[in-house]
Amino acid sequence: MTTVALKPATMAQALTRALRDAMAADPSVHVMGEDVGTLGGVFRITDGLAEEFGDDRCTDTPLAEAGILGTAVGMAMYGLRPVVEMQFDAFAYPAFEQLISHVSRMRNRTRGAMPLPLTIRIPYGGGIGGVEHHSDSSEAYYMATPGLHVVTPATVADAYGLLRAAIASDDPVVFLEPKRLYWSKDSWNPEEPDTVEPIGRAVVRRRGSSATLITYGPSVPVCLEAAEAAREEGWDLEVVDLRSLVPFDDETVTASVRRTGRAVVVHESTGFGGPGGEIAARVTERCFHHLEAPVLRIAGFDIPYPAPMLERHHLPGVDRILDAVGRLQWEVGGR
């Protein structure tokens, strides 16, 4: 077995590489959005693509999200694979009608005759000190819409693999990029980045026996940190990274919770009507007789995303996660 040298790389670099590789592999892949051309995107994810593939393959569009997504629908109808960039989470809302009324249901309304293979990249979530409308976690809206896949990477390797899988998918994929992880580095092999993660599989990031933290995207590193800190309390926490919110990997999640008997769902999005409610309900339905405690949720508060100087109070951090773990009825379960 050869040992592959793993080099540190950022998630942003991996995303750029994924776009470039997808465009090189398939001439029908087109990148489009506001500022994606000459500027290379405000986060530089599309850096160099217009230069390498031309303006027709990496297109600066007029500033209009419904128009960007709506024209991408027509392009997909004609056999292209558009990859659309919505510049920030809250900027995607003007495109909601296109997304919900057309993108998500074109396959269904035509009995499979007109699938739409398009990817919608949306930088999402907080923690970067953005002003209002630049930090929303809007995943619950997308999850609630049948016909869309919703994925979000937490590692550099997943950023690459999942984006390649999203672009290759014959269905529309909402690809949520945790913007505060854009510049995070971890080990990745840029020489052989060909692994394409299948969409719809969660992964256990850390093995543990005391309780399961179920999380995704920007909250994964926070949960891993919490799991390390929890060792001091005598808790051995398992961390499940969902990677894909739709389809949802019940199997991996259920297996973990049945093993540990306790679960906390962690995400930045609001708790009320948020993804955590759905996840907690699914876990309870499938693991009730294995549970030692109710499934808890640690989420953002039920408030509009706060101003940057206050966001640290809103975002689920290590202390809040550990506090929840502490409330998991340890005295009853006796673990």
């Binding site: 209009a64 024209t71 558009p82 007109m114």
Partner: protein, 381 residues
């Protein structure tokens, strides 16, 4: 000294980046809707085309009557008739080549059948057994769009994609007057003009958005004038004059195909029937107005022209009506059969591969259906 007087006193230099864009004059629509029938221009119209338009108009009117009757019989949940607007519908379909694409709204079923789609398939949405009854690729007709104006950016994207691939394909997108107030109308027009996409936008101004008259819809001089702001030509045409609509659209299609970019065509017409059978048009308009438009009926206008020029005799008329009657009889017979509903379709086409969760739900429904079939004795509970 007033501000205006001060302005007149000196000539300011423009800011550094300012340059004149384009001359708006060639983009402006005519003052009155363009007409062919009953004018000198009619002499130049191709007789064969006029006959084809006539046959399709008669067929279209018969379809409108038949579909309205099917609504009254409960065979259709709803039918938004295009009675009086047949000229726009037929011209939109006949002006396109086979490789071109049509993007209809929910009222444009006639254009869809004139394009060659099976009339029964155009009614599946309105019958309620499935959404889009036809394969959009088979006739290059996009699904009937119920949300307003949202299909226009699709037309722009498709036309743009075709041009990128080197195909000389044109997309024609249809919309009503009310739809021009939607944001997607604006975004589609703007994208089309910026990309110089080979698209033709056909606005059927039929006077009302359900009950709201055009005067409460827009303050623009005409809907065709809206084109100028995007940098594309706007054309105003009599929407009941099939020859004129065809000619104006043909010019726009030719321009688009030759790389000249998009055109906005406003066809001035009138919705003779109510918005749908669920609407009471007497609440918002007077009979005299409807009667005036009945006198300007698209079939009458064309029939008069054809008869005067001896291009149509009684036998020709009879043949057109017989063809329409046969279509209606076939439509009636097939629509009166109960459709076969496929419950598997509920889950099969949400994703390329159904998720585990959908497979579970499908099994649940199947169990419910099996229990129903078995009856109360066989249910075993």
């Amino acid at each position: 000294m007033t501000v205006m007087e001060q302005r007149g006193a000196y000539r300011p230099t423009p800011p550094p980046a300012w340059q004149p864009r384009t001359d708006p004059a060639p983009l402006l629509p005519d003052a009155l809707p363009y007409r062919v029938l009953g004018t000198e221009a009619a002499a130049e119209a191709d007789p064969e085309l006029l006959r084809r338009l006539y046959a399709q108009l008669v067929r279209g009117r018969r379809y409108n009557v038949q579909a309205t009757a099917l609504t009254k019989q409960g065979r259709l949940a709803v039918y938004p008739a295009s009675t009086g607007q047949e000229a726009c519908q037929v011209a939109a379909a006949l002006v396109l080549e086979e490789r071109d694409w049509l993007f209809p709204s929910y009222r444009d079923t006639l254009a869809v059948i004139a394009r060659g789609v099976d009339p029964v398939e155009t009614l599946t949405l309105l019958r309620g057994d499935w959404h889009t009854g036809y394969d959009p690729h088979a006739h290059r007709v996009a699904p009937l769009s119920t949300p307003l104006a949202t299909q226009l950016p699709h037309a722009v994207g498709l036309a743009h994609a075709a041009r990128l691939k080197g195909d000389d394909v044109v997309a024609l997108a249809m919309i009503g007057d009310g739809g021009t107030s939607e944001g997607d109308f604006h975004e589609a027009m703007n994208f089309a003009a910026v990309w110089q996409a080979p698209v033709v936008f056909l606005v059927q101004n039929n006077g009302f958005a359900i009950s709201v008259p055009l005067a409460k819809q827009t303050a623009a001089p005409s809907l065709a004038h809206k084109a100028v702001g995007y940098g594309m030509p706007g054309r105003l045409v009599d929407g009941n004059d099939a020859a004129a609509v065809h000619q104006v659209l043909a010019e726009a299609v030719r321009r688009a195909r030759e790389g000249g970019g998009p055109t906005l065509v406003e066809a001035v017409t009138y919705r003779i029937d109510a918005h749908t059978n669920a609407d009471d048009a007497t609440r918002y308009r007077v009979d005299a107005e409807v009667e005036a438009w009945r006198a300007h009926d698209p079939i009458l206008l064309l029939e008069r022209e054809l008869t005067e020029r001896e291009l149509l005799d009684e036998q020709g008329k009879k043949a057109a009506h017989e063809d329409a009657e046969a279509m209606a009889a076939d439509l009636r017979a097939r629509m009166n059969q109960d459709p076969e509903l496929g419950t598997k379709d509920l889950f099969a086409h949400v994703y390329a591969r159904p998720t585990t969760q959908l497979l579970e739900q499908e099994a649940q429904l199947q169990a419910e259906l099996d229990a129903e079939t078995a009856g109360p004795e066989g249910a075993g509970r």
